[in-house]
């Protein structure tokens, strides 16, 4: 840390520098904002990563729906985007939390795992639903809408856990997007999800990053 102003400094009996009250308060603020930026992951980064993924998924499936790209290519694109973003999110989360242990680590781990666990189980559920003879076109709207709805519910819960109004509102908004995508149907439903959900995530991400860098 840079040396702060020297006005009012005294030499303590133990040879350590004793700051003035104003300097002391500034030292606290600087130390704590430094610690917060190094020890807690920037939520804006997560929003942005996943916002990009949502937009990409929405666009590739919209393009598949209007026969511009093949569904297989869209499937691969979706898989690669989700895996890459998951790995990146996990790495960022683990890196920022390294060297720290205690109640918050357990909370962070359980929270982080709740996403892949519920998403994978929903995948099984959607797969089972698909095998019951539901028409393909219906499944192409219902499946994504269920995923989006679950993501919205998880965001809303995140808001409750971390007392984040942004997460809470985002969660509600994303659930609304899921419902709207169902009402709109193909071929526009992937676009509604990509732009409505992904757009909101990108907005929240850029806003959070701007605020964090302004501090």
């Amino acid at each position: 840390m840079a040396e702060r102003g020297t006005t009012g400094r005294e030499q303590g009996t133990d040879g350590d520098v004793t700051p003035s009250a104003a300097d002391a308060l500034a030292i606290i603020q600087q130390a704590q904002s430094h610690a917060a930026s190094r020890l807690t992951p920037s939520i804006g980064v997560f929003y942005t990563i996943w916002g990009v993924v949502w937009v990409v998924i929405g666009l590739v499936w919209f393009l598949a729906g209007i026969d511009v790209v093949s569904p297989a290519a869209s499937g691969w694109g979706t898989g690669v985007a989700v895996v890459a973003a998951s790995v990146l999110s996990a790495v960022i989360g683990i890196r920022t939390g390294r060297g720290i242990s205690g109640p918050s680590t357990r909370q962070g781990l359980w929270y982080g795992l709740s996403w892949p666990i519920s998403m994978v189980l929903l995948g099984v559920l959607v797969g089972a639903l698909g095998s019951t003879g539901v028409p393909g076109d219906t499944m192409a709207v219902v499946g994504p809408a269920l995923y989006v709805f679950l993501a919205g519910a998880l965001y809303m819960l995140s808001g409750a856990i971390w007392t984040s109004r942004v997460d809470y509102v985002l969660g509600i908004w994303i659930m609304v997007v899921a419902v709207v995508s169902m009402l709109v149907g193909l071929p526009a439903s992937p676009l509604v999800i990509g732009l409505g959900g992904g757009g909101a995530l990108l907005f929240a991400g850029v806003r959070a990053l701007a605020r964090r860098s302004a501090r």
Partner: protein
């Protein structure tokens, strides 16, 4: 400059203040490894040890040694007493700087829109 008798001398020294403030930014009950704390504060190991010992002697910091896959790890955490002392110290600073409004200053626990502090 006038003396500030109400400020806790254990905390009121630049290096220990940085150590205490950084530890206080962790969630209550969380601990941090010595190397990560050292990296965060950019202090030498010897210097950090010296200040941690003073904080430990005052009962403000607890140092525990554990083993992770046979490698010894030293953890540092602020005790309840240390956290209380830091809060009192911060309140005393505010009172010194602005006696009129100090009472009106609420603890910093605002609705944090970007979740930058841990819960």
């Amino acid at each position: 400059m006038t003396a500030m008798p109400e400020l806790d001398p254990v905390i009121h020294a630049q290096a220990r203040l940085r150590v205490t403030a950084s530890l206080a930014s962790l969630c209550a009950g969380d601990k941090i490894t010595f190397p990560r704390l050292q990296e965060l504060l950019d202090m030498t190991a010897g210097n950090l040890s010296t200040h941690l010992r003073k904080l430990e002697d005052a009962g403000y910091v607890e140092i525990t040694k554990a083993h992770q896959r046979r490698t010894p790890v030293t953890y540092v955490e602020l005790t309840h007493r240390g956290r209380r002392a830091f809060e009192d110290y911060t309140a005393a600073l505010r009172a010194l700087l602005d006696p009129a409004t100090a009472a009106a200053v609420a603890p910093r626990e605002a609705d944090d829109p970007d979740r930058s502090t841990a819960p």
